[in-house]
């Protein structure tokens, strides 16, 4: 009698919206939510929203974490992080302390990481999908070598920082070692 039910309970713990399901309205809860179908309206969760590649969310979303591989139309606000994977498509604004846009992701909208040191850079990161990686791999090491190289590679996109570097001492051979880092920096300048 209860056997089929017990099996479905086993799948529980997290909530799943299957691929043919449409939910229209307000959804709130305190557990992970996986969306493979369609969700319209408003979503409020204290855990993670996982939007799979078949999923479509047309809603204002307020969660702790969001991992987006499907389509989002609407604003996403996360208390921890938002990640747009390579299959992710989104139109709307993101507000979260950590925002990760992977290569291949498509995004149109504003990003606000309004916390700590992110404030200054948040604006320019918004329009550049590669930034998530670049930021991670450009450590808080002493800046001169990479910047000097960046100047060499990114002529024409001179920033105030770079123009200051005109006065800096010329490249020393020792700096050549940091080649890979410089490539990253150069990407950032594009």
């Amino acid at each position: 009698m209860a056997t089929t039910k017990e099996m479905t309970v086993g799948a529980g713990g997290t909530t799943v919206i299957g691929p043919t399901i449409t939910v229209n309205g307000k959804l709130s809860g305190e557990e992970d939510l996986t969306v493979r179908g369609r969700l319209e309206g408003e979503v409020t969760l204290s855990k993670t929203l996982i939007l799979e590649s078949s999923g479509i969310v047309k809603a204002n979303v307020s969660v702790k974490n969001a991992i987006i591989s499907g389509v989002v139309v609407g604003n996403v606000r996360a208390t921890e992080s938002v990640e747009l994977t390579k299959e992710g498509r989104m139109v709307g604004d993101i507000q979260a302390p950590r925002v990760i846009l992977v290569d291949g992701a498509s995004f149109r909208g504003r990003i606000e990481m309004g916390e700590a040191a992110a404030g200054r850079a948040a604006g320019e990161r918004a329009s550049r999908p590669a930034r998530g990686n670049a930021r991670a791999s450009a450590p808080p090491r002493p800046p001169p070598p990479p910047r000097a190289e960046a100047r060499g590679n990114a002529r024409g996109t001179v920033t105030p920082i770079l123009s200051k570097l005109e006065k800096a001492p010329p490249l020393s051979p020792a700096m050549a070692g940091a080649g890979k880092k410089r490539v990253v920096v150069r990407k950032r300048e594009r």
Partner: protein
Amino acid sequence: MANTVIGSSIVIDGEISGDEDLVVQGTVKGKISLKESLFVEGSGIVEADIETQNVEVAGRVTGNINASEKVELKSDCRVVGDIRAPRILIADGASFKGNVDMDAKGR
């Protein structure tokens, strides 16, 4: 089998529709229309009109149920509303208030 699960801490206020089984462990208010089965588990609360093929209720349902095949009220469930389906099962211990209509032709 059941792809879609509404977990116990989830509250949905609105409409759910689709072509697959739906398991409700949380709360759904509004309307549910499915081409397959709806399972309202012990922790589930549904305050909605339901239109499906099959319904199995172990939790609470307030609203009218319209099933094209079967409605099953398990023991310990509480249902308030009208039920319309060709086959209706009410288990010992179930609590139900409302009208029952098994007239297949009326559908």
